[in-house]
Amino acid sequence: MYDIKPLEEKWKQYNRKKKRPLYISIGLLFLIVLAIYLIKFTRIAPLDSLSNPHNNSVIVTKTQKQHHVQKLLINDSLDEIETNEIQEEIKKVLPVEPIDEIPVLEEPAQTEVGTKTVKKKKVHKKIHLNIIETSSVSAYKDVAKRFYQAHDPDDSLFLAKAYFKKGNYKKAEYWALQTNKVNKNIEESWLIFVKSKVRQGHKNEAIHILESYLKRSHSKEAKNLLQKLKK
């Protein structure tokens, strides 16, 4: 064995080359961890602003585990109101456009409590409400259940609008149709029905429906929509 030294050198080169992907992987992993940390950090920052006393916001929390407790936090006052028979759990945190009233998805009995709470707050101070938590799927189920019992077109229209906004056009179409069955003169419901059809790729059918609707209605918005669809 006379060529051991050159062989050793060759092996050193080989070893360096062999370990290169490992070093690259470690570097990439470090970058990923760093990126995750930075993303987390930037996400936490706006949440911190909620604790700012000058920020007008409402945090609505409903807990299914406790089952009978609803917490409504207004501003930083941490007011708690307990109500009975709440069956949903709020899971998602979704920003909602500022509204004057909190959308009520509970039984009428609870509505009173919720309304009272808001009214009570209004007495203290005029605030700008910003709901940052909204109902989960189970909340929609409750509204649907209520609709099947009472056939209130407001409930079905609410569901049609909500599903359309969420991009669930099949369900939006269904609930718009339910609304039309109860009251065929609700323009908004017809428009959601037609738009849902379009979003699902049934443009011709949507045009046909819209034309039928326009025969007995003079809705400007429907006309505009028809023109848009025909383009």
Partner: protein
């Protein structure tokens, strides 16, 4: 002072010595298959496989094991021309040397073989048969048709040799035995058994599962390549043992040395 690795290195000098034959599950199965085929009234048997899969050593073992039971002849090196081959065959069949300045008449040889039918059963093991040309193979086939001479033909499995196999054997071979490269387990057993056969227990023990895996990765289970790699590994170990003992771990062959041997043999490159 003699290094402990010197003996280990010599274990892996490539040879087809019957003493070096290692019984593995796969080789035992191939041997039994071949032995079983020999018992059948077949004219030709094809032993097929890539170089280094153990064809020659298997033929060698068959010749050695059956030499007292059957009339068996092992043609290890192929004849360079027809004349030489038929001289060899003449000697085997007639048990006489061909008189000087005479040549074998092929038709007469075939007739002679036909005359042996029922009287003798001669088995000829033809190693490296890819060296014989198509014309020669045709003649071998005609001799085998006499049913007095059975040929076991060992062929390398390469693209060209596949052609020979197809053209000359496909319709005539009654049995094909294919040998494959060793599995990881078989190769590890092969290395261990080889070392233990020479009482090199400590060295056998210094090749653990991880090292065996690496050796298999480099040699792809080929016995000839395995012998070459092991020889080089122990050659490097021997150098360190004699000159730089601090660089060697006696309990375990370092991965570095296996890779160095692989670099030397060109299995890997920088």
């Amino acid at each position: 002072m003699k290094s402990r690795y010197e003996a280990a290195k010599n274990v892996f000098i490539d040879s087809i010595d019957i003493d070096d034959y290692i019984e593995l599950d796969s080789s035992v199965s191939a041997y039994r298959q071949l032995q079983h085929s020999i018992e059948k009234p077949l004219k030709m048997i094809l032993l097929f496989g890539r170089p280094g899969t153990g064809k020659s050593i298997l033929l060698n073992r068959v010749a050695e094991k059956l030499k007292h039971q059957k009339e068996i002849y092992y043609f290890d090196t192929p004849a360079t021309n027809d004349k030489e081959f038929f001289h060899k065959l003449f000697k085997v069949l007639t048990k006489q040397d061909l008189p000087k300045n005479t040549e074998v008449n092929f038709s007469a040889l075939v007739n002679y073989c036909k005359g042996l039918r029922g009287k003798r059963e001669i088995i000829i093991l033809l190693d490296e048969a890819q060296m014989y040309g198509p014309e020669m193979m045709e003649k071998i086939r005609l001799i085998s048709d006499s049913r007095a001479v059975k040929f076991i033909v060992s062929l390398h499995k390469t693209e060209d040799e596949d052609l020979i196999a197809k053209e000359h054997f496909q319709s005539r071979i009654w049995e094909v035995i294919e040998l494959h490269n060793a599995s990881k387990e078989d190769q590890a057993a092969y290395i261990h058994k080889k070392l233990l056969k020479k009482n090199l227990f400590e060295i056998a023990n210094s090749l653990k599962e991880k090292e065996m895996k690496l050796i298999h990765k480099f040699t792809k289970g080929n016995y000839r390549e395995c012998n070459k790699l092991l020889f080089t590994i122990f050659e490097i170990c021997e150098y360190y043992d004699k000159n730089e003992p601090s660089k060697i771990n006696y309990d375990r062959v370092p991965q570095r040395i296996i890779e160095m041997a692989a670099l030397k043999l060109g299995y890997i490159d920088v």
